[in-house]
C-alpha cells in the first residue's frame, strides 16, 4: 500500500475524522459560546463538502476491504451536502442546546459509518459501517433530554436496529458458511440457488428492509420519527436511509447478481406493500413528522420499484432520485424544523392559513411537497419517472400500474396540506417568524436544488455515465 493512495482514496473519511477529533479537543478544552461554535462547525462542514469534490480517485485499500470510485465519491458528496443543510436548518434549535458538540460528534460519526458502509468491499467492513451509522443515531434520537417521547423513541430505535442487525448477521454467517469467504468478489463467484443460500439471503434482505423501513418491517419508523428531535428525524429519513439505499443497490446488483431471479420476486412484494401501506397511513396522520415518516415509507416503495427492474439505468435512477429526495424532503423538514423550534407546533392543523403570516416558508413548503408528490415541473416528477422506467424493464406492468396509481393517491395527501396552508381559515395561525439567516440560506439551497435538478438534465447524464451497467 502506498501512503499516497491512502490519503487520496480515504480523503473524505479522513476529513470527517479530523473534524470529529477537532470537536473532541474543543470539548475537552474550555467552554465556548454555542453561536461561535455553530458558525465554526458549519464552516468546517462546508469545507468538507467542497473538499469532497476534489480529485475523486479509483482503487482499493486494505486488501479490498475499502474501495472507492467516482460514483462512490459522488454518493458521499451527496450525503455531505445533506448533512450541511440539516446542520444549517437546525441552527435555532441547537443555539440553546446544552450538548451542542456531542450532537455534532455523534452525527459526524454516523456519517463516517455510512461512508465506510458505502465503500465496503467486504462483509466485515459493511457490518462495522452499518453499526457505526446506527448506534450513535440512537443516542441522537434521545437528544431532547427532558422529553419522555424522545427517550422512548430512542429505545424503540435501538431495539429494532439491534434486532435487525442480528437478523442480518445470521444471514452473513450462513453466507460465509456456504461460500467460504467474506469478500464480495469471492461471494459472487460461489453463489448459486442453493436453498441454504436463499435462506441466508432472505435474512440479509430482512436486515436491510428494517433499515430502509420497507413494509413488513416498518413499525419502528413512525414512532421514532415522531419522538426524535426534528433535525434527527430529517437526518434519519434522508441521509441514513439514502446511504443504506446506495449500499442496497450496489450489493444487490453486484454481490447477489447470481440470485437476481430470486430477489426479483421478493422486491416485487416488498415494493407493492410498501407503497400501498405508506400511502394509506399517510392519509390519516395529523402530526407533521408522522406524516413525513409515512410519506418517506411510500417513497422507499418507489425506489424499490426502480431497483427491482434491474435494468441498466437502475443504479442511476436510484441515485438521482435520492439526490432529489434529499433536497425536497429537507425543504419540507426545514420548514417543520424552524416552526417547531420557534413555536413548538408540529400538527398539520396548526398550519392552516400559514400563508398569511409566513409567505416565504409556505412557498418553500409548497414547492417541496410538489416535488415529493411528483407534480411535473418539480424535480420529483422526473425522479419518479426514471424509477418507473427502470422498473418497467422486466415488463411487469402490474407493478408499474400499481405504482402509478399510488402516485395519484399520494397527490391527494400532499396537496391537502398545500390547500390548508393557502386556503383554510384559522383563528390562531402561527405568528410571523423571523428566520435566522443561516437557515434561510439552507432553504434557498433546497429550493435551488429542486428547480435545477428538474430542469437541467446534465446531472442525470453525469450520474448515468458513472454508474455500472447491470
Amino acid at each position: 500500500m502506498i501512503l499516497n493512495d491512502f490519503f487520496i482514496f480515504m480523503k473524505q473519511e479522513l476529513m470527517l475524522l479530523f473534524i470529529i477529533f477537532l470537536l473532541l479537543l474543543i470539548k475537552v478544552g474550555k467552554d465556548r459560546s454555542n453561536e461561535s461554535l455553530l458558525y465554526l462547525i458549519n464552516l468546517l462542514l462546508l469545507i468538507n463538502v467542497i473538499a469532497g469534490f476534489i480529485l475523486p480517485g479509483e482503487g482499493s485499500l486494505f486488501s479490498d476491504m475499502f474501495r472507492t470510485n467516482p460514483l462512490i465519491a459522488l454518493e458521499k458528496n451527496m450525503l455531505n451536502i445533506g448533512t450541511l443543510i440539516i446542520s444549517m436548518q437546525s441552527y435555532s434549535w441547537l443555539k440553546s442546546h446544552k450538548h451542542l458538540l456531542e450532537f455534532y460528534i455523534l452525527m459526524i460519526s454516523t456519517l463516517l459509518g455510512m461512508f465506510y458502509m458505502i465503500s465496503s468491499g467486504n462483509l466485515l467492513m459493511f457490518y462495522l459501517g452499518l453499526e457505526l451509522s446506527s448506534i450513535p443515531l440512537a443516542a441522537l434520537v434521545n437528544f431532547d433530554l427532558e422529553k419522555k417521547a424522545s427517550s422512548e423513541a430512542a429505545m424503540k430505535f435501538i431495539l429494532s436496529s439491534a434486532f435487525s442487525s442480528g437478523l442480518l448477521l445470521f444471514g452473513v454467517s450462513l453466507i460465509y458458511g456456504t461460500t467460504g469467504s467474506l469478500a464480495y468478489a469471492e461471494i459472487t463467484s460461489h453463489l448459486s440457488t442453493d436453498p441454504l443460500q436463499i435462506f441466508a439471503f432472505v435474512l440479509f434482505l430482512a436486515g436491510f428492509a428494517f433499515k430502509i423501513s420497507a413494509v413488513p418491517f416498518h413499525f419502528w419508523t413512525a414512532d421514532v420519527y415522531e419522538g426524535a428531535p426534528v433535525a434527527i428525524t430529517s437526518y434519519l429519513s434522508v441521509i441514513s436511509k439514502g446511504a443504506v439505499l446506495f449500499v442496497f443497490v450496489s450489493v444487490l446488483y453486484t454481490v447477489f447478481k447470481p440470485l437476481a431471479d430470486v430477489w426479483y420476486g421478493m422486491l416485487f412484494v416488498l415494493s407493492i406493500s410498501t407503497i400501498i401501506i405508506g400511502n394509506l397511513f399517510a392519509i390519516r396522520q395529523d402530526n407533521f413528522k408522522r406524516f413525513l415518516a409515512f410519506s418517506s415509507i411510500a417513497q422507499v416503495g418507489f425506489i424499490l420499484v426502480g431497483i427491482s427492474g434491474s435494468s441498466s439505468m437502475g443504479t442511476a435512477a436510484v441515485i438521482y432520485f435520492v439526490l432529489i429526495y434529499i433536497f425536497s424532503n429537507l425543504g419540507a423538514f426545514g420548514v417543520v424544523s424552524i416552526v417547531s423550534s420557534l413555536t413548538g407546533k408540529e400538527r398539520i392543523s396548526d398550519y392552516k392559513s400559514f400563508y398569511k403570516t409566513n409567505p416565504f416558508l409556505s412557498w418553500i413548503l409548497t414547492i417541496a411537497l410538489f416535488s415529493l408528490a411528483g407534480v411535473p415541473p418539480a424535480a420529483g416528477f422526473f425522479g419518479k419517472f426514471f424509477l418507473l422506467i427502470a422498473g418497467a424493464e422486466k415488463g411487469n406492468y402490474l407493478l408499474i400500474s400499481i405504482a402509478a396509481l399510488n402516485m395519484i393517491v399520494s397527490f391527494y395527501y400532499y396537496l391537502r396540506i398545500v390547500k390548508s396552508v393557502f386556503m383554510e381559515p384559522n383563528e390562531s395561525p402561527i405568528e410571523s417568524l423571523t428566520i435566522p439567516l443561516i437557515s434561510k440560506v439552507a432553504l434557498y439551497i433546497c429550493l435551488l436544488g429542486i428547480v435545477i435538478l428538474g430542469l437541467w438534465s446534465v446531472v442525470y447524464d453525469y450520474i448515468f455515465t458513472l454508474s455500472p451497467i447491470f
Partner: protein
Amino acid sequence: MGASSLIVLAIAGIVFSAGGMMIAKIFVKGTKNPQKGQAYESGIKSTGTTWSQFNVGYYLFALVFLVFDVELVFLYPWAVVVKSVGITALIEIIIFIFILFMGFLYAHKKGALKWI
C-alpha cells in the same frame, strides 16, 4: 508447547486457588457469631433491604468500564501477530489506543470518573 502446556496451566491454576484456600483454613483463627453470618456491610449491622437505589455514578462507571474493557479484546489478536508484522503493527496500535484515550479524556471532562 501444545496440549502439555495446557495441562500444566490447569494444574497450576488448581494449585494456586486450592492452595490459597488451604492456607487461609490453616492460619486464620476461626470465631463464630451470628453477626458474621449476615450480609457484610463494612462491619456495621446491615439495615434496610438490599434493593435500595444506588447512586447514578455507579451506572456511569459500569457503562464506561463495559466499553473500554471490551475494546481491549482487540489487543489479543494484535499480540499474536505483532512480531511478524513489525513496526506497522506498533503504529496501528498506537493510533487505536490514542482513539480510546480521546474517549477517556471526554469521560474525564464530563466528570464521569469523579468519585461521588
